[in-house]
Every structure is written in structure tokens, then in C-alpha cells.
């Protein structure tokens, strides 16, 4: 059964009416339907050029990584480049046998390793040699990167995927006459991914962690902040711990796919020069083949209340960065729009309070800002403030200046002009997003999954509009509370390493 929606959103757009007819027009171009297996599609017709953008949003991310297998959602995401049973192989039947042999040897290695100190080293070494040989054998059937090559050769741009805490997304744009190619390849892959070159790709994912976290002063600091602010909730780790990544198995990825990549957990937004009826036909033909699956589990672990400030430092020879994070409720909470406005007041453009005071007037920071929800907001998360101290100015000085601003926000209501300015900016930012297929597809999918309706993209503006200075003050008092604060910053490595003369 396909539930189609077409209707007018005019009533909901009152707040944005001052922007003229464009937004009301917009809604008439959206078609929405759900396949029998539960997969949801949102199609936006927009045709200044014969191109189309795809955004497949899987409602599962790093928070769904099992214990001891952090990095798994991300590892699975990387398999999108590896192709299908028909694309990327010279002989799937034989390749499959070779891959099974790899798994069998790996099982025996794990069994031996589990003996811990009693493990037989010589045997392990022999098995590891056999594993390498088996992997090479399986590789003999691989047509490397064939799946992505097909996209690129057919004119796809921006083909990529991403794993966040809450989601995994797959996206690209294509010339609109290639519509069916996308349906064929992505549906084949989502239906039956293959774990081709899994252990080579695991090395690549390990490199990604080295690049983004271990070799990046900022990446390290962010990771430590999250792991400190969250004791229990899986928001505490995104990329995955090194040792977990190094031990992920193809079997784990397959299990993750079986659990979370069920049609009802996937939303696909398509924006561009397409006909909704064509899309519906292709969606049924290609994605309709995927059997329905049970509703994936939600994260059960809740973060226990924070009972006092947490502070953590990371030693680094780099110039310091300061991160200050407060606990905040999830995105469905009534205070969500107020927190957006609060972040806007602190960090919007050249008139945000952090820029004005820390960067412009006191000149103690190179940059300073605020992010309303880190790392995401499906679950209660963090309201983050950051500052990058100027040379000759300390982290302590910056931290103090930030608190002065926050205390003022708690003490007195914000000026009406500042509040109006932030609201205007949020509205205008929305309009500016409407000019890009890729941006639109992303927003439509995100709002559908996270708020239950893509229209929230527009109706959210109404909620922003209703925020008062008193709301901002109340929310500042409630959430910007030292007791639920986590502070992280760099410090210079302890001196006395022989490189300091005195």
C-alpha cells in the first residue's frame, strides 16, 4: 500500500509569509509515499537543470554500535564502496567461497586468542599467515572500486556516505536521465551488501581514526570531551576506539545490517528534475523487493544525571582550544527551539555575543562560537561553546569571559532587537537552503526522520518565532548550569623534558 501525500502547506507558512510566494509554492512540489515494506520516500520536483540529488538516511549510527564493537556502524558504511554480488566481482560464486574460508580461519584465530595467556603463539602465527593468504585469494576475484566507478563514469558528483552518532547517510547527485541507475545500484547494495575486502577496509577505517582523531589536536580534544561528558550513553564515542575497530568482523557488520537496515528504518529523499510517478514506479520495483524487517531496537541506556562539573585536559604542543559543554534535552523537547535561539544569540554572524566580546572587544580569542546540539540530538546531548584563545591569552581568561556572558544571559532578558535579529537570520538561512537540490534532499530526510514530518523544516520556524526573551532567560538558567558542565582544553605537555632551559 502506498500512502501518497499532496496538499497545501499554506496555513503552516504564515510565519514565513513575508518571504512571498516561494515557500508556499514549494510544498506543492513535494510528493511523499511509503512502500509496503515500510521504506519512506520524499520527492521534490525542482527543475532549473536536468540533475537530481539523492539522500538515503538510515536511522542508525554510532549510538547503535554494540559494546566492544564501537566503529561498527561506520565500518558498515564503508562497505558501500565494495559493491554487490553482481558489481565488483569477476566470479561471485568462487569469491563467496573464498570469503567464507577467510571467515573460517579468522574464527579459529579468535578461538585461539580467547585463551589469553595460554594461547599457542606458534599456532596463532601459522593461522595469521593462512589468513593473509586466504584474503589474497579472495581478492583475486575483486574488481576494485567498480561500484563507485559506475557512479563516477555515469556523471555522479559528490558520491559519498557519512556516519554520525544518530544516522548513516548515503548521498550523491546525478544527471537526471541516470535516475534508474541509482535505484538499481543502491537497492541491490542495501538488499544484499557483500563483505568484500572487509579487512583491508578495516585498515582504512583505522587510518581514518588516526587522521581525524589521533593526529589532530582538535579531534583528540573533542573525543575526550564526549567521553567525559557521557559516562553511559553511547554518544560518548563516535569514530570508535582503536582496539574495537581493529577487531571488527565481517559477521558483526552483517548482523548490524540485518538489524538496522530494514526498510522501515530507511528514508530516501530525492530532489531535482524528476517525475514523482517515475520515482514511485522505480522505488516499488527496486526497493520494494527488500523484505520488511522488525523495528530496530532503540538505545536503552540513559545518561545518569550529572552531579557536578567535570574537567579534563589533553596535553598537546598545539595552541590550546577550549570546549565547554552543558547537558541539554533531546530534539523533541519543547526547549529545543529556545536552545537554537540561544546558540544564535551567542554565535550568529558578527553580532553573536561570543564574537563581539571575546573576539572583537576583549581580543582574547581568535574565534568563539556555540553549537546547540553536540554530537546530535535524538537523545539528550550537549550544548557546546568553544573558544580558540589568541596568542598571549590563556584558556582561563577565555573561560572566565564566557561565563560572564552566560551569567548575564541568566540575570537579564536579552534585548528585543538582538532576539529579532537571530530569528530573521534563521528564517533567511532556511530560504537560502532552498536553492540547492543536495541541501534540500538532506533537510527533507533529516526532518522526516527526526521530527516525524519534513514540514517541520518550515513549521519549526513558527516555534522559533514564538521564543521570547523570558524563554531564553529561563532556558539559560535551567541548562547553563555549572553542575552539568564539562570543560575540556589543551595544556602544554609538562615541562622538564630536557627541552626547556632555565
Amino acid at each position: 500500500m502506498i500512502r501518497a501525500f499532496q496538499g497545501s502547506l499554506a496555513a503552516l507558512l504564515v510565519a514565513a509569509a513575508c518571504f512571498g510566494q516561494s515557500l508556499a509554492e514549494f510544498e506543492k512540489r513535494v510528493t511523499e509515499f511509503t512502500l509496503e515494506n515500510g521504506m519512506h520516500f520524499i520527492v521534490l520536483k525542482r527543475d532549473p537543470a536536468p540533475v537530481v540529488s539523492f539522500y538515503a538516511y538510515v536511522d542508525a549510527g554510532a549510538v547503535n554500535d554494540p559494546r566492544g564493537k564501537t566503529g561498527l556502524a561506520h565500518m558498515f558504511e564503508h562497505m558501500v564502496g565494495k559493491g554487490t554480488t553482481r558489481v565488483g566481482t569477476t566470479d561471485w560464486a568462487r569469491e563467496q567461497e573464498a570469503l567464507e574460508e577467510v571467515e573460517r580461519i579468522y574464527d579459529r584465530i579468535e578461538e585461539e586468542r580467547r585463551k589469553g595467556p595460554r594461547a599457542d603463539r606458534a599456532r596463532l602465527e601459522e593461522l595469521e599467515t593462512r589468513l593473509r593468504a586466504a584474503i589474497e585469494q579472495a581478492n583475486a576475484f575483486v574488481k576494485p572500486n567498480e561500484f563507485v566507478r559506475l557512479f563516477e563514469a555515469n556523471g555522479a558528483v559528490g558520491f559519498n556516505a557519512g556516519t554520525g552518532s544518530d544516522y548513516t547517510v548515503y548521498f550523491c547527485s546525478m544527471p537526471s536521465n541516470r535516475l534508474e541507475l541509482w535505484f538499481l545500484l543502491i537497492s541491490e547494495w542495501m538488499r544484499r551488501p557483500v563483505y568484500r575486502e572487509f579487512y583491508k577496509e578495516r585498515d582504512v577505517v583505522r587510518e581514518e581514526r588516526r587522521m581525524r582523531v589521533e593526529s589532530s589536536p582538535q579531534g583528540k580534544l573533542q573525543e575526550v570531551l564526549m567521553a567525559t561528558a557521557f559516562l553511559a550513553h553511547p554518544y560518548r564515542i563516535l569514530v570508535g576506539w582503536a582496539s574495537d575497530i581493529e577487531n571488527l568482523r565481517a559477521r558483526d557488520a552483517a548482523e548490524f545490517h540485518r538489524t538496522y537496515y530494514v526498510p522501515r528504518n530507511i528514508t530516501i529523499a530525492i530532489a531535482g528534475d524528476v517525475d514523482a510517478a517515475d520515482v514511485k514506479r522505480l522505488a516499488e520495483r527496486y526497493f520494494g523487493r527488500i523484505p520488511p524487517g522488525p523495528q530496530p531496537p532503540r538505545v536503552i541506556t540513559e545518561e545518569p544525571p550529572q552531579e557536578g562539573e567535570r574537567r579534563v585536559v589533553v596535553e598537546s604542543p598545539a595552541q590550546p582550544i577550549l570546549l565547554i559543554a552543558y547537558k541539554r534535552p533531546d530534539q523533541r523537547h519543547a526547549d529545543d527551539p529556545v536552545l537554537d535561539v540561544l546558540a544564535g544569540l551567542l554565535a550568529s554572524g558578527r553580532t553573536g555575543l561570543l564574537y563581539k566580546e571575546l573576539v572583537r572587544d576583549k581580543r582574547i580569542a581568535l574565534a568563539a562560537g556555540a553549537v546547540p546540539a553536540v554530537p546530535a540530538a535524538k537523545y539528550p546531548s550537549l550544548f557546546l561553546i568553544y573558544s580558540v584563545p589568541n596568542v598571549d591569552h590563556t584558556v582561563e581568561e577565555n573561560e572566565k569571559a564566557v561565563y560572564e556572558i552566560l551569567e548575564r544571559l541568566k540575570r537579564e532578558p536579552v534585548e528585543e532587537t538582538a532576539l529579532a535579529r537571530v530569528k530573521t537570520k534563521i528564517r533567511a538561512d532556511l530560504i537560502r537552503q532552498l536553492a540547492s537540490n543536495a541541501g534540500l534532499a538532506r533537510q527533507l530526510a533529516f526532518y522526516h526522520v527526526n521530527y516525524g514530518d519534513w514540514r517541520k523544516l518550515f513549521t519549526g520556524i513558527e516555534e522559533i518565532e514564538r521564543v521570547t526573551a523570558a524563554d531564553v532567560q529561563r532556558v539559560a538558567r535551567q541548562y547553563l548550569n555549572p553542575k552539568t558542565r564539562t570543560v575540556a582544553h589543551h595544556v602544554k605537555p609538562a615541562a622538564g623534558t630536557g627541552e626547556e632551559w632555565r
Binding site: 589536536p217 554572524g349 582561563e396 623534558t497
Partner: protein, 699 residues
């Protein structure tokens, strides 16, 4: 048992092969792509000489545009590098004669509008964006900023503070170090393409420089103005013409940009960074111009080598070897000067040399045999099938047309490129690879931790040069010295000499032995160090430290030196050597005898304040206590590994007599105003007869 079951399930699931009810990829047939509509652009020359480009785009109620100005940081004076960038930034923040930049911030943001400015390598831009209803007000701000910026001093000071922080932070990210050093080494550090801004340049740049820079380059005949959005072209043209009617400034034409005169810089260039476990690399040499007839073939070649997920480098280094997450290649071509052919990426430290070797092999392979039919077709299809994305947003067409005019390219350049790519053959690729890729000229920049490299870089059999990442300190503005201040300086120094025991007593000190306890404060958090320092006149110094994790010794004769740690002995790195020289200058008996060193200058720079500078430019300020004549405090710039210099201040207390010479036994050190260390001296001995051989003996 459980794992076996799961495996069985997994295998069972993937071996179910249902009848294929959907076509294979090569069975798909695509309809022809709809003709892309190329937006109409109208161009005019205004009476004052400014070129105007207008493009109607009625999709959203927005209007935006930009002025493209023929200028660039290639015109920076060699002693004021950063002038163009500062001009570009402060043009906006410094406001106009009527309004401060801060007032403009509020005015624009109340309208959800923006005006921004910047000057890059070969152009400057001032851009605006506005809701349709506010366009008159926003255009007026845009015009005032473009034509009559005020460059207020406070905003120049702010920008300089920011730029100083950028300099201080430039060695924090290994990837950007690699990109920067690669570019500077190939273009050469002695010319505008490869030189870089330092603290000393910023100190020289004044508001007058910005005003003059703006005056020289911002005049109507030197500007292309492009506007697009929800308007009628005729009305917008009239509006713009009226708005700029009173701007009639004339200037001689701007000279051409300087030529690139790069010499090949082959070899490996290594920048050491201790806080990474990956090596960030760049490999390449000078590239070419977009207008070169071989540019399309070179683009296809670079795409095959390292253009995307299906390229050779990606397949080899990432997919096959698993050495890198990121690796890619680009044939660097610019509009008006040669770009950089470059291969870039990062790999775990252990695999550094193997990764570079694998890349060099891929370059060789490209030069020694033709690419496959499939590779060529994929690369061509990638360009040709995605060609429509050059037109998916009307603004892209407008930007392109303006840039082509700016750099003197034909209007149909992109279509010529399209047909040239379609015509490229395998022979062409081999020919351009052999002609333009020059393995013997490759510059290889690696930023990482060499002690973790599995195979040393030397195995590449190429010369390895070290890159010094030290950030040059601003030469401290030595206070003006004249005969009077020098004479007064000498007087005050003599008073201090008297106070500690007399010039003769100081002159008789040939060596010094000091035992002390140092407690680190602040970030170091209470660490205790037992230290013995020894000095032998004139310039040999050694310190031995007992730390919680082992013994450390360091030695320097002012020219060279070594460090000994539990991990072994290594030559003293350049930044530490500088610290050693600074420590030698500060050594109290030697500092107070500065009038005996011909290369030192002692100058009175304030009430009771001496500045002592040596021949290498190191300097120390010494505060003399008015009541006792004893040195009360000294301050100096302390070099920190990988960071900007800190201002160190030492308070000298607890003066006690040692064999007739007064010395401080308690020293409190602050850095940048924050507590840093406390030193308690246990014992001082003079003239122990130590020899230089003893001091230089490694542990």
C-alpha cells in the same frame, strides 16, 4: 559455538541467490539528457569604466553579487607580507566614514543580509547578499565599503591580533603544514608565490599602508561587478549606474602579476611533528595553465592517477594496501600562472616510506605504458557525464563568465574543454605523462614522526632535507639607543655590579656550579625536578636533571649541543639551541658583566630598566631595584617548541653571598603572566676548575 551459528546464518543469507528480477547495469538504457538551459547574462560598461554583469534568477526572493577587483597578495611588498589580506579584511570590519564596522554588522544582520570582503592571491572581492526587499539599503552599504572604506585603526589592530594567532597556530595541524611547505618549497620562499607572513611583517604594516593599497587597486576601471537574483535587468542596471555615478576615481592600469620563476627542488623534505601517528605528505612539482593545449589530456591523466574512488592511487594505496584513508592527485593548473601538480594524503607513520614508494611507482607506471581503454573511458565519462553540473545553478555560469573575462579566456572555454576531453586518446595520455611528469624533479614533503617510520626515508635513495618549523619571533623592537641612554645604561649596570660584589669579583668568575630544586606550577602540576647546572666561561653550559621518569642532560657550547634522555642521545634541535643561547645570555654573573662582551649592548630603556642585547639579537630586560641596586627581575622571550614565544619573567629574591658574590637563591618564573615554576637554589660554587671536556662528556 554461538559464533559458529551466527556465521552459518550469515553465509546462508548471502548464498540465497533469488532469480534476478531487475536488470544488470549494462542492460539499463538511459533517455537522452534534457538540454540544459544556459542563463542569459547581460554585460555593460558603466560610464565610470566599471564592467557590469547582470543575470536574472527569479527562483527565490534573493539578490546577490560581487565586485571582482584586479589586485592580490602577489602585490604585497616583501617587507609587509600580509598587507593585501589585511586590507581585504579590514575593508569590511573598519566600516565607512559614516558608520563603524560594528554598526554595519548590526544593520546588515537585522536584514539577514551580508557584505563581505577579502583579497586572495590574484584577485580581491567584495560581495553582498540580500533579501529582495532590502536590496537598496544593502547595495548602498556595499558601495560605501567598496569605494570609501575607513580602515579604522582599532579594526586593523584587531586583525593583526588575529593574524598573530594564525602564525602561532600554523604548526598545529600536520596536513596544513604539508600543504604550506610543499607550495613554498616549489615556488621558492624568495618571491610572492612562496613567501609567508611573519610577526615582523605585521609589525611594519600601518593603517596608511592599507589606505594606499586600497587607493591603488580599487577604482572603477579595475573592477568587474556581477549581480544576480530576483530583479529585472533593466531596473538593476539603472540602479547600479545611478549608485556608482559619483565614483569617478582614476588610476593607472594595474601592472601584470609577477611571473613564476620556480626552480625544481627535488628530494625529500621532512618536518618532524611528535604528536601525530600519521604522516601527512605531498608529492609533486610545478603544474601548468588552464589554457595549455594539453590541459584536457593532463586532467584526464590526473583523474586516472588519483582523481576519485576509482583511480589508481585510491585502488593501490587505500583499497589494496590499506595504508591510507585519504590519497589523491591533481594536475594543478591555474588561469594565469602555473599551479602545482600534487599527490596528497596521509598514512600511518609505520607505512610512510612504503606509501611514498608505491606512489612513485604509480607515477612511473603512468609514464611507461598506456592506460587501459576502460580507464580512459571511465575518466572521460566522468568529466562528460557530469558536465551538466557546471550548469546546475545559474550562479555557476555567471561566476565562470566573469572569471573568464577577468583572466582573458574565451567565453566558450568550458565547451572547448568538453570537446577536447572527448578527443583525448591513450597515446595522448602517455605522451603528456612523459612530457609533463618529471620524476627527477619531484618534491616530496612529509610531516610526521620519523622515529616511528618503519623504513627510514633514506631508503628512497633521495636526499632528505629537514624542515625547520621554528616560528621566527618578532625581532623585539629594541628601544631606541642613543649616546645618552647607552651612557645611563652603563651607569646603572655598574651600580648593579657594585651591589653584587663589584666588577672585579664578577670578572674573576670562570665557572659556576648550581644545585637547585625546581617545582613546576600550572599545567605541569607540581612536578619536582632536581637540577645541577654548570657553566664555563664564556659560553659552555650543561644541565643535568632528575625527573620522575628518569635523568635528562643537556649540553651546549652555544654553537652545537646534545640532549640525553632515557631513550638515548640526540643532537640538540634548533629551537632548543636557541633556548640555550638565551640561557647563556641570562646567566647572572655573565649578564652583569655584559660591558666586557664587545657584541653586547647595554641600554637604559626605562626607569631602572636595562635592555641587554647580544650580537645574535637575543635580548633580556633587567629591572634594577632602586633601593639596593640588586637585579630584582628579568624578562625575555622564551621559545617554546612548536608554539609562539612566551614572555617569561623571573623574580630574583633571597640574595645570599657566595665567596663574596651575591646571588639569588629563590627565583619565581611566570610565563605570559601565569605562574610557571619556582626555583629554590640549594648551593652555589664558584671556580671549581671544571674543564670543557668534563662538561661535554655524555652520560
Amino acid at each position: 559455538m554461538k559464533s559458529g551459528l551466527l556465521l552459518a546464518l550469515l553465509l546462508a543469507a548471502s548464498s540465497l541467490v533469488p532469480a534476478q528480477d531487475v536488470p544488470a547495469v549494462d542492460e539499463l538504457r538511459f533517455p537522452p539528457l534534457k538540454q540544459v538551459e544556459i542563463p542569459k547574462i547581460e554585460t555593460y560598461t558603466l560610464p565610470n569604466g566599471m564592467r557590469l554583469y547582470l543575470m536574472e534568477n527569479r527562483e527565490l526572493p534573493l539578490i546577490g553579487g560581487f565586485a571582482l577587483v584586479r589586485t592580490g597578495n602577489l602585490f604585497d611588498p616583501p617587507d609587509k607580507i600580509g598587507l593585501a589580506s589585511l586590507t581585504g579584511d579590514v575593508l569590511r570590519t573598519g566600516g565607512t566614514t559614516q558608520k563603524t564596522g560594528d554598526e554595519i554588522d548590526e544593520q546588515l544582520e537585522n536584514l539577514a543580509a551580508s557584505v563581505e570582503s577579502g583579497i586572495g592571491e590574484t584577485s580581491g572581492t567584495v560581495s553582498f547578499n540580500s533579501l529582495r526587499q532590502d536590496v537598496d539599503e544593502v547595495l548602498s552599504v556595499f558601495k560605501d565599503l567598496l569605494t570609501a572604506p575607513a580602515f579604522r585603526q582599532d579594526k586593523l589592530d584587531l586583525a593583526k591580533t588575529q593574524y598573530r594567532s594564525l602564525i602561532a597556530r600554523r604548526n598545529d595541524d600536520a596536513g596544513s603544514i604539508a600543504a604550506r611547505e610543499f607550495s613554498e618549497i616549489i615556488y621558492g620562499r624568495d618571491n610572492p608565490y612562496g613567501w609567508r607572513m611573519e610577526y615582523e611583517h605585521l609589525e611594519r604594516i600601518s593603517r596608511e599602508d592599507l589606505v594606499a593599497f586600497h587607493r591603488r587597486y580599487f577604482f572603477p576601471a579595475n573592477i568587474l561587478l556581477a549581480v544576480q537574483g530576483d530583479f529585472s535587468a533593466a531596473e538593476m542596471r539603472a540602479k547600479i549606474e545611478k549608485l556608482f555615478a559619483d565614483w569617478q576615481v582614476r588610476q593607472p592600469p594595474v601592472p601584470p602579476f609577477p611571473e613564476v620563476r620556480a626552480r625544481p627542488a627535488p628530494g625529500v623534505y621532512l618536518a618532524e611533528k611528535q604528536d601525530v601517528n600519521q604522516t601527512f605528505f605531498r608529492i609533486g612539482h610545478l603544474g601548468g595553465l588552464l589554457r595549455d593545449p594539453d590541459f584536457p589530456a593532463l586532467e584526464v591523466m590526473a583523474d586516472i592517477l588519483g582523481g576519485g574512488f576509482s583511480s589508481r592511487l585510491f585502488a593501490k594505496v587505500r583499497t589494496q594496501l590499506g595504508y591510507a584513508y585519504s590519497v589523491g592527485a591533481a594536475w594543478g593548473a591555474n588561469y594565469n600562472h602555473p599551479g602545482l601538480f600534487r599527490i596528497s594524503g596521509s598514512t600511518r607513520s609505520e607505512a610512510t616510506t612504503e606509501t611514498i614508494r608505491a606512489i612513485l611507482e604509480e607515477i612511473e607506471r603512468l609514464r611507461s605504458s598506456e592506460v587501459s581503454d576502460e580507464e580512459l573511458k571511465t575518466a572521460q565519462d566522468t568529466v562528460l557525464n557530469s558536465f551538466v553540473f557546471n550548469f546546475d545553478q545559474p550562479a555557476k555560469t555567471l561566476n565562470r563568465v566573469v572569471l573568464y573575462d577577468y583572466y582573458g579566456y574565451p567565453k566558450d572555454f568550458i565547451f572547448k574543454y568538453q570537446s577536447a576531453v572527448a578527443a583525448v586518446t591513450k597515446k595522448d595520455i602517455l605522451r603528456v605523462a612523459q612530457k609533463y611528469l618529471r620524476p627527477q624533479e619531484l618534491t616530496i614533503v612529509a610531516v610526521g614522526k620519523p622515529s616511528d617510520f618503519g623504513t627510514p626515508l633514506a631508503e628512497l635513495k633521495l636526499p632528505v632535507h629537514k624542515i625547520d618549523l621554528t616560528i621566527p619571533e618578532p625581532k623585539r623592537q629594541a628601544a631606541r639607543a642613543d649616546a645618552l641612554s647607552l651612557a645611563r645604561g652603563k651607569q646603572l649596570l655598574e651600580r648593579a655590579q657594585q651591589a653584587v660584589g663589584g666588577a672585579d669579583k664578577l670578572g674573576a668568575v670562570k665557572d659556576l656550579w648550581i644545585s637547585s630544586e625546581i617545582v613546576l606550577l600550572g599545567a605541569g602540576g607540581g612536578m619536582r625536578i632536581e637540577q645541577t647546572s654548570r657553566w664555563l666561561a664564556p659560553s659552555t653550559i650543561r644541565q643535568d636533571q632528575q625527573l620522575p621518569f628518569g635523568r635528562m642532560s643537556s649540553y651546549s657550547d652555544g654553537q652545537t649541543g646534545w640532549l640525553a634522555t632515557p631513550q638515548g642521545v640526540q643532537p640538540m634541535p634548533a629551537p632548543v639551541l636557541r633556548q640555550a643561547r638565551s640561557a647563556l645570555l641570562r646567566l647572572l654573573p655573565s649578564l652583569l658583566a655584559s660591558d666586557r662582551f664587545p657584541d653586547r649592548q647595554v641600554n637604559l630603556v626605562g626607569e631602572g630598566l636595562l635592555e641587554i642585547q647580544d650580537g645574535s639579537g637575543e635580548s633580556v630586560r633587567l629591572k634594577i631595584d632602586a633601593a639596593t641596586g640588586l637585579p630584582a627581575a628579568l624578562s625575555y622571550a622564551a621559545t617554546q617548541a612548536g608554539g609562539p614565544p612566551a614572555t617569561a619573567e623571573e623574580t630574583l629574591e633571597d640574595w645570599r653571598e657566595v665567596e663574596g658574590l651575591k646571588m639569588p637563591f629563590k627565583i619565581t618564573i611566570r610565563r605570559d603572566g601565569a605562574p610557571y615554576a619556582e626555583v629554590t637554589v640549594r648551593e652555589i660554587r664558584l671556580n671549581t676548575g671544571v674543564t670543557s671536556e668534563e662538561l661535554s662528556r655524555k652520560p
